[in-house]
């Protein structure tokens, strides 16, 4: 199955083409520029470079969040409309799970984390068990949480923690302060569309993807105004 992967959830704007377990190509840009202007030209360029016609696409996987609200909306809106226009299925993939997929070893603690602003991170803590089918086990569920809380839970395991994601750059000092030498950052461990396409592959190939109507962002946080209204009560 020929799958287009899209990830605009963080500062990275990335698109990838995956055929089976073969990555045909990936374009990843990590500069401070709007994803809105970049995304579709990147898609067009990638297909050209890979000599693929848009009509040949068979499925779309998109990083649905958590991440920047605006970023994930650009990705998800684009994925929905491409799926609608090409009449193909599309799936939303957790940004954190896609990141965790970059770590292949078994038995490791894996901690993807993104900066969620307001002193919080979007993060989760997983372990890939040493037994088949090696499905990620969720130790801390994905959510917006205080960095200190996440780190103390991770430290509680007294094992090395494999860390990746954009939040690493922002919080390096705090992370090393708590985990010390047990913090193992993954080199170049940023969001990438190939990871998203990989993550969405089994759902798409298994025919489990629903229509674009069901494809919605994973915000993990209510709008600020809604929270204030609830708290005001």
């Amino acid at each position: 199955m020929l799958i287009l992967g899209i990830d605009t959830a963080t500062r990275v704007c990335s698109v990838a083409l995956l055929r089976g377990d073969n990555l045909l190509g990936e374009l990843t840009v990590n500069i401070k520029k709007t994803h809105s202007g970049q995304l579709m030209p990147l898609v067009g360029r990638l297909l050209e470079l890979c000599r693929v016609e848009r009509e040949e696409l068979e499925g779309i996987a998109v990083a649905a969040g958590p991440g920047s609200f605006t970023g994930i909306r650009i990705g998800v809106s684009t994925a929905r409309a491409l799926a609608q226009g090409l009449a193909i299925p599309a799936v939303g993939v957790s940004t954190l799970k896609a990141l965790a997929g970059a770590v292949a070893g078994v038995g490791l603690l894996i901690c993807p984390l993104l900066d969620a602003r307001r002193g919080e991170v979007y993060a989760a803590l997983y372990r890939r068990p040493a037994k088949p089918p090696y499905r990620l086990e969720e130790l801390v569920s994905p959510g917006a949480m205080e960095l200190g809380e996440l780190l103390s839970r991770a430290a509680g395991y007294r094992e090395p923690v494999t860390l990746l994601g954009e939040g690493l750059g922002t919080y390096r000092r705090e992370i090393e302060g708590v985990l010390g030498e047990r913090a193992l950052p993954v080199p170049l461990g940023l969001n990438r569309a190939a990871l998203v396409a990989w993550r969405g592959r089994s759902e798409l190939e298994g025919g489990l993807a629903s229509g674009y109507e069901e494809l919605v962002p994973i915000y993990l946080r209510r709008p600020e105004a809604e929270r204030k209204l609830r708290e005001g009560r």
């Binding site: 809105s36 202007g37 579709m40 030209p41 067009g44 605006t70 909306r73 809106s77 409309a81 962002p217």
Partner: protein
């Protein structure tokens, strides 16, 4: 960037319009820039009412979940499929950036997927095109008065597809003044219809509120913040003295002040430009006093000049006007690239 533009000569032009600049998600199909084949709108007014105004993040979330379904419905109602469309048009500004981005991303991806050209439409300019959807014979040149919750502006429209600056508001938009005054008066949101209804039973000359006409070089600009403050002060002073305001008189007097300025400046522009027509657009055009006064004074002072305003359902934000505004651009092959972005502060006369 290669983008096939299959605009071949097949007679009818069917444009799909998308609109998501504020709190209305909409999709519509318009034939040859004039005939509405479908016009689907989903309003979020009730969702935002409890916040006393549009919450951008909530609006953006709603747009995303609705827009593709509205496209589907608009096509179905028009009896068309995506592959039969001639082009995709989208409002790319002005408006709430997060909200606009949903429409822009959707339009770009659809345009790419179905290999049809993308047309960027100025939302404000599109409001004038609502008139072309209801009145088939409109003479040009025209003067356009746009009055809505977010904008108030005067434009010169020599011919379809062209628009030039005359003036705009320096502070509050006319609709915004209605909303704020309605809130102080204890009326609901949105304030326009509430004030219009109360004013029907009041005396427009009861209270002499200020009218801002501004200096000569800004004669086509607007300012409503002084009027808004005057009304708020009037109510506060009255309440402090233990009095209670006469809502109908207050509503009628405030409304008369807004309407007088809008009409006076429009007539000034018609005279200066020798326009054949006045085109009104925007939510405030639903106001009955504005329609009545504009018609009366044009009839008395500029005989022969025609007045057009859209029916109520086309006054507020919709996607049919977006598709209609895209038509002259389609004929001129004025297509947008896939790098198209949302422009939250796009000016009425800015050309994409």
């Amino acid at each position: 960037m290669e983008q096939s533009q299959d605009t071949g000569n097949r007679g009818r032009v069917w444009i799909l319009g998308l609109e998501s600049s504020c709190d209305e998600t909409a999709a519509a199909v318009v034939e040859d820039g004039r005939r509405i084949l479908s016009n689907r709108i989903s309003s979020q007014v009730e969702i935002h009412a409890r916040y006393g105004g549009v919450v951008p993040e909530i609006a953006s979330r709603c747009h995303l979940e609705l827009i593709n379904t509205l496209v589907e419905q608009a096509l179905q109602e028009a009896g068309l499929t995506l592959d039969r469309l001639s082009a995709i048009a989208v409002s790319h500004g002005p408006g709430l950036v997060g909200a606009l981005l949903v429409g822009v991303a959707t339009a770009k991806a659809l345009s790419y997927a179905i290999r049809r050209p993308l047309i960027a439409v100025n939302h404000l300019e599109a409001h004038f095109y609502s008139n072309l959807l209801s009145d088939s014979d409109i003479r040009f040149p025209a003067v356009g008065l746009l009055a809505s919750g977010g904008h108030t502006a005067l434009a010169y429209i020599p011919r379809p597809g062209e628009i030039l600056q005359l003036g705009q508001t320096r502070d509050d938009a006319a609709g915004e003044a209605f909303d704020k005054v309605a809130r102080v008066m204890g009326l609901g949101y949105p304030g326009g219809p509430e004030i219009d209804a109360r004013a029907a039973e009041g005396d427009p000359a009861a209270i002499d509120f200020p009218r801002a006409y501004l200096e000569e070089e800004s004669r086509f600009d607007f300012s409503f913040s002084g009027l808004k403050s005057a009304v708020i002060n009037y109510i506060h002073n009255l309440r402090q003295r233990g009095g209670e305001e006469n809502l109908p008189d207050l509503a009628a007097s405030f409304q008369a002040a807004v309407v007088e300025v809008l009409v006076e400046k429009t007539i000034g522009a018609v005279r200066e430009k020798g326009a054949a027509t006045v085109l009104m657009g925007g939510g405030v055009v639903a106001n009955s006093a504005l329609r009545r006064e504009m018609r009366r004074r044009l009839g008395e002072e500029c005989p022969g000049v025609e007045l057009h305003y859209p029916p109520a359902r086309l006054c507020t934000d919709n996607a049919a006007m977006v598709a209609a505004a895209a038509y002259p651009q389609f004929l001129a092959s004025n297509f947008a690239p896939l790098t198209l972005n949302a422009i939250p502060y796009l000016q009425l006369w800015a050309k994409p």
